[in-house]
Amino acid sequence: EDKVVQSPLSLVVHEGDTVTLNCSYEVTNFRSLLWYKQEKKAPTFLFMLTSSGIEKKSGRLSSILDKKELFSILNITATQTGDSAIYLCAVSGTYKYIFGTGTRLKVLA
């Protein structure tokens, strides 16, 4: 059965800290892995990863994929209160995406 597991489930940090969010997967016919940020509304797209070892970067956020070990990490450096959200990982299999349950990040001022 396809599955995506995210860890930790929740995390509380202080502004300025660096955090690493994890996503491991077992999905048939893997094609890509996506990261989303969800505040009190719809998920918004952050990154799509298809190749191992190639870091995607956007400002203070970066992500990398390891297709051999079947996992991805999302790093956030110099965290800000605006980074507080649920971070979702999704992996595409045949025609569809499997989502993890998310990591809830809270950044304290």
């Binding site: 094609r31 890509s32 996506l34 509304k41 719809a42 998920p43 918004t44 797209f45 799509m48 298809t50 979702l88 999704a90 595409s92 045949t94 025609y95 569809k96 995406y97 499997i98 989502f99 993890g100 349950t101 998310g102």
Partner: protein
């Protein structure tokens, strides 16, 4: 994503009544998806469509049906709503594989 809208945005209904949620897109996405999101479960796929009149079931399809008569619209129907279908429903469009997926704003459905 402004290209995907959902209606209604909020709905309260009673057990046993039929409910239809509408997803409309202006981005010419071939693939469209309906998810529900519940605490502790994340986003779970209900049904998806890979073209006009081409649909398939997701992991939680029982009690739901869908229709896609044209590219722009993807309808989700609860034939006889139950309290267990109280949830937030998201429509998404885009692709799978090497394409990404964009979400509509969501519909909060409460079944009393």
């Amino acid at each position: 994503d402004a290209g995907i809208t959902q209606s209604p945005r909020h709905k309260v209904t009673e057990t046993g009544t039929p409910v239809t949620l509408r997803c409309h897109q202006t981005e010419n996405h071939r693939y469209m998806y309906w998810y529900r999101q519940d605490p502790g479960h994340g986003l779970r796929l209900i049904h998806y469509s890979y073209g006009v009149k081409d649909t398939d079931k997701g992991e939680v399809s029982d009690g739901y049906s869908v229709s896609r008569s044209k590219t722009e619209d993807f309808l989700l129907t609860l034939e006889s709503a139950t309290s267990s279908q109280t949830s937030v429903y998201f429509c998404a469009g885009g692709g799978w594989g090497t394409d990404t997926q964009y979400f509509g704003p969501g519909t909060r459905l409460t079944v009393l």
